[in-house]
């Protein structure tokens, strides 16, 4: 779907926009859009709004209703993602067959990569917890509980999707006092996913490392896994490619042994034995005549070589 623009941009601004949309080796945080599907229920709308609150600086909440079914035709999502430069999306809808339906997904190159449908069984909004919330834009701690996350293929991908949704951005360093938000995802074998959000309280422990206490700040959602539409392995692999600029360079022929000593392997060319300088002796020294003869021979050889 990626297109090379053969038509030149006419304005400087247009050129800048096109340049900013080009793929980069290091990408910033993924933008997210939240859409309303056909007849969204109040619950789904509030739920998406709460997830939007958690995601805030990198998200847009589109409040208009859209008459579409993502699992049948996702072209609207692709279009909106292209328009808003977003790579993540959430859609809320409600029907008799699938009540309180939430679809979370991501795109790659403006095409759908993964799409996972979740049913919101129970939902307690952020506003129903009457306490202090965390600052917007903090990098949360992501806690995944339960062995099901690694056993089920769908849940495996959902875990990756949740990390993609909430990890915010790759950072090099983090302020210790800024670690005050924890998101917990608990999955059971029967496809229930419990989403909880806590504020971390750092208490004294008598040591350098503090004692952690949690306070639930919401939203608290009980999801049920419904349909999924996962990317093929090829596409997923392609999307996970690391650009060469970012890949750490491996140094060849350097190794470390068990004691931590640095070892290097050196390759030396073949030794030229006939030219080896052995012990010099007066008897083997060349006379001036011999030297002259050698010179003449050399010259002749050179001439022949050039001819």
């Amino acid at each position: 779907m990626f297109r090379v623009f053969t038509r030149k941009p006419t304005t400087r601004k247009g050129k800048k926009v096109l340049l900013s949309k080009e793929p980069k080796p290091v990408e910033g945080p993924k933008q997210c859009i939240f859409l309303q599907g056909r007849n969204p229920s109040d619950k789904t709308r509030k739920l998406l709004k709460d997830v939007y609150e958690l995601k805030k600086p990198d998200a847009a909440f589109l409040s208009r209703k859209n008459d579409f079914v993502p699992f049948e035709d996702a072209s609207l999502i692709e279009k909106m993602c292209y328009k808003k430069e977003a790579a993540l999306f959430g859609v809320g809808s409600h029907s008799k067959k699938r009540p309180h339906n939430i679809i979370l997904g991501r795109t790659f190159n403006y095409g759908i990569l993964d799409m996972i449908e979740l049913g919101a069984d129970k939902f307690k909004a952020m506003s129903e917890f009457h306490n202090m919330k965390v600052l917007a834009g903090l990098k949360p701690c992501l806690i995944f509980n339960g062995p099901a996350w690694d056993l089920n293929q769908d849940l495996k991908r959902l875990k990756s999707l949740f990390i993609d949704f909430f990890h915010r951005e790759k950072v090099e360093s983090i302020r210790l006092q800024g670690l005050e938000h924890a998101l917990s995802f608990t999955a059971t074998e029967n496809g229930s996913i419990y989403f909880r959000s806590y504020r971390i309280l750092l208490k004294k422990s008598g040591q350098r490392t503090p004692r952690v206490e949690l306070e639930e700040i919401g939203p608290s959602i009980d999801f049920k896994l419904r349909r999924t539409k996962l990317a093929s392995d090829d596409l997923y692999k392609e999307s996970c490619k690391i650009p060469r600029e970012v890949k750490p360079l491996t140094k060849k022929n350097i190794s470390k042994d068990a004691f931590g000593t640095k070892l290097g392997r050196i390759h030396i060319g073949k030794q030229d034995i006939p030219r080896l300088q052995t012990r010099k002796m007066k008897g083997l020294k060349k006379t001036p005549e011999e030297k002259k003869l050698m010179l003449r021979k050399k010259k002749l050889a050179r001439k022949q070589a050039t001819a």
Binding site: I143, I174, G206, C240
Partner: protein, 353 residues
């Protein structure tokens, strides 16, 4: 000793005052400190989770333990102080997440860039504005101010002596400019085509607004002559006609690719080449075509078997001798064309049409 015990006791009391920071887990929790991620693969207490009133408490306790473990890992990392805040340096994230767009491909070089690279030509930065002696002011390199300055400067253009005195020099200048723009656009499109590996047809002889040069005309004539079905083989030659040479002809006329002759080898090289050739011939071994060999082997075996069948005497008594009109109906349809036909023998079975 009393003092030591006292201190130890005091420390213990102090420690008792606080809740512990250690957590016991059956299986080790996996961490990715770079993304602040902890995955606990220990089994959950499903009974408790199923109960509505106990679920939240259980989840909170579980998450607290795992968060504590994660933060213990974070607190182990080296810290820094950056304007009044204590900051830890996070390691590189382990979890691989998909990108939003594919890895950027290196931009294909244009023809000029390729040439410049081969020749080592680097771009020289020009000044944004230049001092114009005639106008006595700074004129920018491009833009509307440059155009205005040009207009001001060229209020009069001399007609050269060798040109037609009635030529409109302004018009000529404008057409030259538009031609330049068109050429640039064409080259841009050509570069795009080259980058995408699209074959584009050759445009042919360039047509300029002025008179074509002798070489261009000669090229055009040669190409036109070769544009018959027989590639101009039966076209007559004009008296004193010269074969046009040079760039463009060989590409335009099919089957006229230039073959570069190899340089004349030196005596040593020639000798070496000949020796190599002899060596090659002498060292030759018969090539074995495995498929062919196998097929041959199978064929000989088959022949041998058929020979044996022919020579072997039919076993006595078992086979009944057939009469002249012995009818032998079998389910198999008689097939023609296999083996020699015996016109004396009557074909068995019903006549099939």
């Amino acid at each position: 000793m009393d003092i030591v015990n006292e201190i130890l006791e005091r420390e213990q009391k102090k420690a008792e005052k606080y809740k512990p920071i250690t957590v016991e887990k059956h299986l080790d929790v996996e961490f990715d400190v770079g993304t602040l991620l902890a995955s606990d693969t220990n089994d959950l207490d499903l009974k408790v989770i199923q109960r509505d009133n106990e679920r939240d408490k259980y989840l909170e306790a579980l998450t607290r333990d795992n968060t504590q473990l994660l933060l213990n890992k974070v607190w182990e990392l080296p810290t820094e102080r950056i304007d009044e805040a204590i900051v830890v340096r996070l390691p590189v994230p382990k979890t691989l997440l998909p990108r939003s767009k594919p890895v950027p491909k290196p931009k294909p070089l244009t023809k000029w860039q390729e040439f410049a690279k081969a020749k080592g030509i680097t771009k020289k930065k020009k000044d944004k504005a230049q001092w114009d002696e005639q106008l006595q002011k700074w004129v920018p390199l491009f833009g509307f101010k440059k155009a205005a300055a040009e207009k001001e400067k060229n209020w009069l253009i001399e007609v050269p002596q060798n040109a037609d005195p009635m030529t409109d020099m302004y018009e000529k200048k404008a057409s030259e400019k538009s031609e330049k723009v068109a050429k640039n656009e064409l080259q841009r499109l050509k570069n795009i085509a080259r980058a995408r590996k699209v074959k584009i047809p050759r445009v042919g002889i360039p047509v300029t607004s002025d008179k074509a040069s002798a070489t261009q005309l000669a090229t055009a004539a040669v190409v036109a002559k070769a544009s018959t079905a027989s590639l101009g083989k039966f076209q007559d030659k004009l008296p004193k006609e010269k074969e046009a040479r040079g760039k463009g002809i060989h590409e335009l006329i099919p089957g006229k690719e230039r073959k570069r002759k190899a340089p004349i080898p030196t005596p040593q090289q020639e000798k070496q080449n000949n020796l190599n050739l002899i060596d090659k011939i002498l060292n030759k071994r018969p090539k074995i075509d495995m498929e062919k060999a196998v097929a041959k082997h199978i064929h000989t075996e088959q022949i041998q078997r058929s020979e044996e069948k022919k020579t072997a005497k039919p076993s006595k008594g078992k086979r009944k001798t057939k009469g002249v009109n012995a009818t032998n109906f079998t389910a198999k349809k008689p097939k023609a064309g296999k083996g020699q036909r015996n016109p004396n023998k009557k074909a068995t079975g019903r006549k099939r049409r």
